[in-house]
């Protein structure tokens, strides 16, 4: 039985009425009609977390008491007949890079162990005001530096499709939680692919918004010119709804764009109709095309080719496009991001928050800082701080950081050329695989930073150019999910949602059920065996 993606009343789960299997669009209707209460929904998720999270390790912190209290307040308000927003009573998980007032926030690092932030990030405040129920904070690579969650100081999360494989990263706790049905949706952050890659390898929809589309106020900074928060969800429509809930201008973030969001959910709904007539799609040669297939798995390329054929069958005009500077995205990113990180992470000095090591009167300030940072940071963070310090040092700045910024300009020009001007001949969206491979086994790349960085090959260009990009599932290879990436011009996030929704609807219809449905069934109840 298929689940209706439009959120209609027919969209009930096929797995025995378990509330955790509902998509959010459906869940909001169930709550609104009073068919289930926020407490029922929240309890269903908490039960599932209790049963499954010891295996998946998706969460760093779960606060059942507060979650139930929040849900109770929503149910009581509804019972009193109060006017509630559409998301009231919907549970959510936040990546632990998002600061939350009074709730432990570590960014996956020892250096912030035990820290209770004194304020809420703007997106956390908006979700709170919308009446959502915070289930907990999800695991992540330390300071969002990684593609597997293996650099988390608190151990890796696991992929619900195969517990011996990575859930992606850095937002891998969020992907494991949502794909494992331990949250209906979650917030991730994406600096070089950290929403899209974990979404791709777990069969989720993940969108990196246009840079400046979602406030960065209260996100623990990694690389400020690249960091962007966004939605991770089980359907394109849910991702659009979450993006709308967190997006829009924020005076607390000077890089926040002062313009209304395009109608994202509306475009997702329209896209699900499946008509892409007149949509011009460019297939980027440098991301898995002829002569650029090193490191790409055959299964990924096969699913990608099928997705492109599907786009054509839905009416899209497809042509190949060359973006030569994309070849240099990885080197540019791995100079720019570490450089900005080395500067941003200077704030962790053991003085104002977090741990302090060696303050015994025998060590001076510099020594205490060095001991604190040595103990508080993991290997990947140290590597990047050292590399960034080198790239920014006098005499080498131009040769590395300056050159990387020039690459960034060229990548922006490639996008601009592909999308074209106002003459109407430009492409509407660009597509590529989201990742060169399916989820790799835990441990396979931890000792080889360059191999780990290659997981971001396809996602980096959109990050460097600040343009929006979504990953939507496009089938399985060797039983593991493959993602299709759809990139659009800045501020045209709606195109990502529209095209992604068309792909999702067509594939769900052909398959007869949603990609994640086997996982929903597999994960039900504490008695399951892997």
């Amino acid at each position: 039985m298929s689940i209706d993606g439009g959120g209609a009343a027919t969209g009930r789960p096929s797995t025995g009425g378990d509330l955790t299997t509902l998509d959010v669009a459906t869940l909001t209707e169930v709550l609104h009609k009073g068919e289930a209460g926020a407490v029922d929904v929240t309890r269903s998720y908490l039960d599932r977390i209790t049963a499954e999270d010891p295996r998946l390790a998706a969460y760093l912190y779960v606060d059942s008491e507060t979650a139930i209290a929040t849900a109770t307040a929503v149910d009581e308000a509804r019972a009193r007949g109060e006017e509630l927003g559409p998301l009231a009573g919907v549970p959510i998980a936040l990546k632990d890079v998002v600061v939350t007032a009074g709730i432990p926030t570590t960014s996956g690092s020892r250096i912030l162990e035990g820290w209770h932030p004194p304020y809420d990030a703007t997106l956390a405040a908006r979700l709170k005001a919308a009446g959502t129920v915070l289930l907990g904070k999800t695991n992540m690579d330390e300071f969002a530096m990684g593609s597997s969650t293996e650099s988390s100081a608190y151990g890796p999360s696991r992929n619900p499709w195969d517990h011996d494989r990575i859930p992606g990263g850095s937002s891998g706790g969020s992907s494991a939680a949502v794909a494992g049905f331990l949250a209906p949706w979650a917030i991730g952050t994406d600096t070089g692919g950290s929403i899209r890659q974990p979404a791709a390898v777990t069969g989720l929809v993940g969108h990196k918004p246009t840079y400046g589309s979602v406030s960065r106020y209260g996100l623990i900074a990694f690389s400020s010119s690249l960091d962007q928060a966004g939605p991770m969800a089980r359907t394109v429509l849910d991702a659009a709804l979450l993006h709308e809930a967190i997006g829009g201008h924020d005076p607390c973030d000077s890089t926040s764009i002062d313009a209304p969001l395009p109608p994202l959910a509306e475009c997702a709904r329209r896209g699900a109709d499946g008509d892409l007539s007149g949509v011009r799609v460019g297939v980027v040669r440098e991301l898995g095309g002829e002569g650029h297939r090193d490191g790409y798995e055959d299964g990924v390329l096969a699913r990608f080719a099928e997705a492109v054929a599907l786009l054509e069958s839905l009416g899209a005009e497809v042509r190949e496009v060359s973006c030569p500077a994309f070849d240099l995205a990885l080197p540019a990113y791995y100079l720019i991001a570490p450089s900005e990180a080395s500067s941003n992470l200077a704030r962790f000095d053991g003085v104002r928050y977090g741990i302090r090591i060696g303050d015994d009167g025998a060590h001076d300030l510099d020594e205490v800082m060095a001991l604190t940072r040595e103990r508080g940071f993991g290997a990947e963070v140290k590597r990047r701080i050292i590399l960034g310090t080198y790239a920014l040092s006098s005499g080498y700045y131009e040769a590395y950081y300056g050159q990387a910024q020039k690459v960034r300009t060229l990548i922006g020009r490639d996008f601009a050329a592909a999308f074209g001007g106002a003459d109407g001949t430009g492409l509407d969206v660009l597509v590529s695989p989201t990742t060169p491979t399916v989820a790799f086994p835990l441990g396979a790349r931890v000792d080889d930073p360059i191999a780990m960085y290659a997981a971001d090959l396809c996602t980096l260009p959109a990050s460097l150019a600040g343009v929006p990009a979504i990953s939507v599932p496009c089938g399985l290879a060797d039983g593991l999910p493959v993602g299709l990436q759809i990139m659009a011009p800045a501020l045209a996030d709606d195109r990502c949602y529209r095209v992604a929704a068309a792909v999702e609807a067509a594939q769900d219809a052909a398959r007869g059920h949603r990609l994640l449905e086997p996982l929903a069934a597999r994960a039900v109840g504490p008695e399951h065996t892997p």
């Binding site: 820290w115 209770h116 004194p118 304020y119 400046g212 010119s225 005076p251 000077s254 890089t255 764009i257 240099l328 080197p331 791995y334 100079l335 080395s342 000095d349 053991g350 003085v351 104002r352 928050y353 977090g354 302090r356 060696g358 303050d359 009167g361 060590h363 001076d364 300030l365 020594e367 800082m369 060095a370 001991l371 940072r373 040595e374 940071f377 290997a379 140290k382 590597r383 701080i385 050292i386 590399l387 080198y390 040092s393 006098s394 005499g395 040769a399 590395y400 300056g402 050159q403 990387a404 910024q405 020039k406 960034r408 300009t409 060229l410 922006g412 930073p449 360059i450 460097l464 600040g466």
Partner: protein
Amino acid sequence: MSTPAPTDRLSRQEVAHLARLARLAVTDEELDLFAGQLDVILRAVARVREVTGEDVPPTTHAVPMTNVMRPDVVRPSLPRDVVLSQAPAAEGDRFRVPRILGEEA
């Protein structure tokens, strides 16, 4: 005044120096590990120098913005006690910092 041209190599000694600059008290084992890894990474990222044209300005930020202002309105700060409660050490109304001056100072 001239700096030697980048060799795209990082020695163990240079890594130790960089770690000191970044206030990281790295161990000998870490130095051995990082020096090798960073040397490989540096050679890989040095490809950015393939870009030569003079007409390529640097991009610092994907969305061009200058002088973003908000209204000059006084707003309350975070409560001092809440902030200090999260510090590793506080004394009175202040953060307590480790010893800054050496013995002989």
